[in-house]
Amino acid sequence: MRKSSEIWFSDLQTEDVSLDIKVKKQLFSAVSEYQQIDVFQSEAFGRFLALDGAVIFSEADEFIYNEMVTHVPMAVHPNVKKILIIGGGDGGVAREFTAYPEIEEIDVVEPDEQMVEVCREFFPETAKGFEDCRVHVIHQDGLRFLRGRQDEYDIIINDATDPFGHAEGLFTKEFYGSCYKALKEDGIMVYQHGSPFFDEDESAFRSMHRKVFRCFPISRVYQAHIPTCTSGYWMFGFASKKYHPINDFNPQRWKERNLKTWYYTTNLHIGAFMLPKYVEDLLEQEEES
């Protein structure tokens, strides 16, 4: 039962569906040059960050997302030295990568300087990725940063979530093409693929796969369960110039690292690429179109 004195945050996932989180306190609110940034304290999810009214991550479930975009490509690519994270102003993905000693450089390109500051202040556990000396934060438009770069990165993570917000440019053919060019000949790009469950998200989901499938020789999709994401079910794209996410997967090598995880396991790695029939059908239709 809701009581009249309570504050609830509603994340409108569609016009007719919302995820409501009871809020103890609002910790921060501002409009940056790019978006509305809000930080809340809640019982169920701990602190959480909302951009333009949509939950981006919470203390309770950020590990799922951050582990899944990091360990999946790292368990496939045998020789990673240089990483590029586009978006990623919270530092969570960078933090996961810093656990790998062989990585020499991690570039985080986040246009919104204020978002980085807010995360440093309110999510120090997540933002501690920024403290590692291998991590460089660049405040620039993602497309602008990629322009002219060639044969430079082993892994690129597109950390932007919203294909209709200020990061719209990171869901386009020109972006995927620029990533392809900026990757080395055996590079991998992992990107947010969203959720195809609600009708209004389906066309964005389809168009992403259509574009990436035509851009990279290997293009597979994998999934995770993330409670604060739309429909609680989230997908990632694995686009690669050389390595296949299953055929070139090396569980033994990854296990020997003895990394501590809460979501990712080498069993789950394979399972994550096993998709529900309706998702498989959507993807196949785009591959054949």
Binding site: D141, L143, R144, L146, R147, G148, H166, E168, G169, T172, K173, E174, F175, G177, S178, K181
Partner: protein
Amino acid sequence: MNLEKQAYAPICEALERFKRKRVVPFDVPGHKRGRGNPELTRLLGAECVGLDVNSMKPLDNLCNPVSVIAQAEELTADAFGAAHAFLMVGGTTSAVQAMVLSVCKSGDKIILPRNVHKSVLNALILCGAVPVYVNLRIHPVIGVALGMEVEALEEAIKANPDAKAVLINNPTYYGICSNLKALTELAHRHGLKVLCDEAHGTQLYFGENLPMSGMAAGVDMAAISMHKSGGSLTQSSVLLIGPNMNQGHVRQIINLTQTTSASYLLLSSLDLSRRNLALRGKECFREVVRMAEYAREEINSIGGYYAYGKELVDGQSVYDFDVTKLCIYTKSIGLTGIEVYDLLRDEYDIQIEFGDIGNIMAYISIGDRIRDIERLVGALEDIKRLYQSDAGELAYVDSVLPEVACSPQQSFYARKETLPIRKTAGRVCGEFVMCYPPGIPILAPGELITDEIIDHILYAREKGCSLQGAADPVVDHLQVLV
């Protein structure tokens, strides 16, 4: 310009007052504030449909403005530095036609460059005036027709001392500006009226450090596409006149072809855009220039493409350059402008203004954002990576200057026959053939068809240009004079 007065928008204020009165409509339009057409109301919004009203006393009448429209026109004239301004609802096409019809009648000669918009040639069909073309230099690299040179106009006047007027495109679609002041002075010395097609020139009146505007140069009439860089609704436009024109006569000319049910959606958009430009135009166009210059720099650093700017200025055929224009020469990466135009739309979801044989144009305006510029530049880089081909293979002819064999009006109404296009060389054309956009005719009625021109049409068609104007939509056949 009186800034205090410019803060008013008389038409919009009258519409607001009218809305508050809740007048019961027993007049047209029959949708009655949208109630009679709920589907349209859902599409356009109740506010918008509610403003779609008819002329009436409190809202004035565009055919004979005496109150709020007259005030809005006065403010517009003041903002543009004109003797009078007419608000237009038939597109800049109607403004251009009103210019020509105001100064030419049947048989009169009018001097113009060949790369005029089809609306000019249509006006010649309407009034029976005869075109005298001034040869324009073509830029050796980008293949674009340049500005009108003073010497070229002088020659044309000498050869046609009976000419009544000269029409100048300034700036052109590509940003090329002529020495408008010198051309105007020369024409005036010989008693010619000067008409300026300023469809791409609204910004010249409000921005800083931009080329000289028509009114500042002393032209007699100027057609301004407010809906292009000015921010008003599509199909709204402004016609300006100088002190030596008869306002009443021009109004009569406009009323020959103008609707008697002018749309208040269009009129209010002109009113608000004029106010915005008068009050904030300087900052708006500073931002537009900044974005266009940034895009130029970034595109040029990709390599291969050539986004041209001020360096084209040579003091003659390119007297000045409008830096708000972003045109890019693409043939150097082995692709025609049309091909890049299609790729941008089909593969990258980016719609640009036009692609011709060697160039594309991306329209930069007060509504743009840097992040969208990044997309455009990123897409151009990706197109180069994926589609670049050998530039040497593309031979073409552009802007072929045709010979006028017969007046456009006579040819338009003459007896004609239809022939396969390859069989028409040596005949006089009876219709228009143009690439759209930009809508500049390759052939106009009355022009002599040559093999060179046929090659040009077929090449443009092969490269995916949308050919318009001819009776045969795919232009396998042309109508020629018997």
